[in-house]
Assembly symmetry: C2
Homo-oligomer: 289 residues x 2
DNA sequence: GTTCCGCATGAATCGATAG
DNA sequence: ACTATCGATTCATGCGGAA
C-alpha cells in the first residue's frame, strides 16, 4: 500500500497556489486528480491571465507536484481546450501533452466532452466550439479503473422508443443519451447495461450561480466513479467554485480543493451546504498550516 | 483569380502515389482537399503499414504537394486518429499538426467526428474509441466558407435525421434539387435553422456493401458543402473506395481521386454508377499520362 | 407489405504466445 | 528484451429471411 492520509482526514478547501500548497502534502496521497485549470488568458484577476505562449511553462511545475502527490495507480484527468488565437487554434495543449510525457506522465487516453448546449454564436470563419478535451494521464500503465460504476443503458433509446410507442414515452429521459451518466440509472432498471465510450455527452451548467465557466458536476462525477471507490481521496488543485467537491460529497469520496481566492471557497461552502453536507467541510486550512 | 483547371476537366481517379501524381498538377488547383489517409499500421497491403514513429516523416512530403495544389483560399480537411500503443495514445497526430504548421499550414480548427457505432471490445484500461479528429488547415487566414450550406434545424441535428436517411431517400431528389439533401431539407421547412457546431455525429458505414468504407459519405459531404460551391474542384489524395467522389457527384462538384490500387478505382466506379452518375467519371488517367 | 429476429461485420485493443 | 501474430472481447447497424 502507498502512503495514506490519516483516517481523520477531513475534506478541505485550501486558499493558495496549488504549487505551494501541495509542496506540504505527502507523496502518493491522492487516488485521483481531476481539474479544470484556468485556460490561457482567462481568469486574469486571479491567476494573471497566463499568456498562451507561456502556458506550458506555467503549468509544468504544478504538474510536477501533481505527479508527486498522486498514488502510483492513480489517475490525473485534465479538462482543457485550446483557444483560437489570431484565427488559428493555439498549440499550447499539444505542447503541454508532450511536455507532461517528458515529465514522466503516460498519456493514456483523450476523452471528448461534448457540450450539448453551447452558447449561440457565429463567426465568419468558425462555428461554435462545443467540445473540450479531458486528457487522462497516469504514472503507470496499470491503474485503478472501476468500469462497472459508469455503465449506461444499452444504446439507441430513440429507436426503441419508436417501436414501443406509448410504453417508452413515459420513461423518456433526456439525460441518458449515448455515454450519458448514471444520474437516472434507476429509470433504466431492467435494461441491459453496457460500457460507455470515450465520448461524454453533457450539457454545460446553466449560469445560475455566482460563478462562471464551471464544468457540470456530472463531469468530475463520472471520472470519480470511474477511477475511485468510496473513501478514496480526490484532489482538485484549481477548485474554483467547488464542483469537484460537490461530486465527491455526493459519492462519499474525500477531497482536497485548492484555489487562490477566499471567495471561491465561500461559494464552494454555499454549494456544499445545498447538498446538505456542509458539516463535512473543514474550514481550517488556509494553506499555511 | 487563381489558376483554374480547364473547363473541360473531368472527374478522375488516378492510380499511383499522390506524392508523384500531384507533382504533375498545376499549383492552386483545388478548392478543397478532404481525405482520410491510411492510419499508422493500417492498410499494410498497399501503403505498407506506416509505423507510428515514422508517420510524420511519411506524411510531410505529400502534404507539401497538398499545399502547392490547394488554392490560397482553399481548405484542407484531414480525418485522422492516433492509435493506442503500449497502453498509451501515440503522439504522431500531435507531432503532425506541429509539423504541418512549420510547413506553412494554419491549424484553423479541429472538428470532432463522433462515431455513434464503434467497434466493440472491453479492456481493463480503456473504453471503446468512438471519435476521430477532422483537422482543418488553411494556407491563409481568409478562406472560403459557406456556412449557410450546412445549417441544421434547431435542436438535434445529425443525431437522428441525417442518419435515418436511407440510400434511396438520398438518391431520390438529388437530380431535382442538387444539394443532395433535398428531401431532407423539405422535411425541415418551417423549422428554425441554425448553424451547427464543430462536433459531427455520424455513424460509420457498416458492412452493407461489398466494400468497406470507413468514411461515411456524410462526412466529406458536410465539408464539401461548407467549403466549396457548385463546380468547385475537390481533391482526395487517398481516394480509396471513392466516398469523396460520391459526395462530389451528389453535390455537383468536380473531383480528383488518387490511390494506389486499381481495384480501389473499380470499387469507386461501381459506387458512382449506383448514384447514376457513372458517365461523369473519366476512365483515362492512370497516373503516368 | 410490414414487423421482427438472427447474424455477420466493422480505422480496435490487450495480453499471451511464439520466434 | 524486443517484435510479430493470434484469440477473446463486444455493440451499433443493416441485411435477409420468417412470421
Amino acid at each position: 500500500m502507498t502512503t495514506q492520509l490519516p483516517a481523520a482526514f477531513k475534506d478541505q478547501y485550501l486558499i493558495g497556489d496549488c504549487r505551494d500548497a501541495l509542496a506540504q502534502v505527502p507523496p502518493n496521497t491522492f487516488d485521483l486528480i481531476v481539474t479544470s485549470p484556468p485556460y490561457a488568458d482567462s481568469r486574469k484577476n486571479t491567476y494573471g491571465g497566463i499568456h498562451p505562449d507561456e502556458y506550458v511553462e506555467w503549468f509544468l511545475p504544478r504538474a510536477e507536484q501533481f505527479f508527486r502527490v498522486l498514488k502510483p495507480d492513480g489517475t490525473f484527468i485534465l479538462n482543457i481546450k485550446e483557444k483560437a488565437v489570431n484565427g488559428e487554434r493555439h498549440t499550447y495543449v499539444l505542447d503541454l501533452i508532450k511536455a507532461l510525457r517528458e515529465q514522466g506522465w503516460l498519456w493514456t487516453e483523450e476523452f471528448i466532452w461534448h457540450k450539448k448546449n453551447t452558447f449561440p454564436g457565429k463567426w465568419p470563419n468558425r462555428f461554435r466550439d462545443s467540445w473540450e478535451r479531458c486528457l487522462q494521464f497516469n504514472k503507470r500503465r496499470k491503474f485503478k479503473m472501476y468500469q462497472d460504476a459508469v455503465k449506461v443503458p444499452v444504446g439507441d433509446w430513440a429507436e426503441s422508443r419508436l417501436r414501443n410507442l406509448s410504453e417508452t414515452d413515459k420513461r423518456r429521459d433526456n439525460s441518458s443519451v449515448g455515454s450519458g451518466f448514471g444520474k437516472n440509472v434507476s429509470n433504466w432498471v431492467g435494461r441491459e447495461m453496457v460500457y460507455p465510450t470515450n465520448v461524454l455527452h453533457l450539457a454545460t451548467e446553466c449560469g445560475n450561480k455566482s460563478h462562471s465557466a464551471a464544468f457540470p458536476v456530472e463531469l468530475p462525477s463520472w471520472f470519480i466513479r470511474l477511477f475511485t471507490k468510496e473513501g478514496d481521496v480526490v484532489l482538485d488543485p484549481f477548485g474554483g467554485s467547488g464542483t469537484t467537491g460537490v461530486a465527491c460529497a455526493e459519492l462519499d469520496r474525500r477531497f482536497l480543493l485548492i484555489d487562490l481566492l477566499e471567495e471561491y471557497r465561500e461559494v464552494a461552502l454555499e454549494r456544499l451546504s445545498e447538498v446538505s453536507l456542509q458539516g463535512r467541510l473543514e474550514l481550517a486550512g488556509t494553506g499555511d498550516d
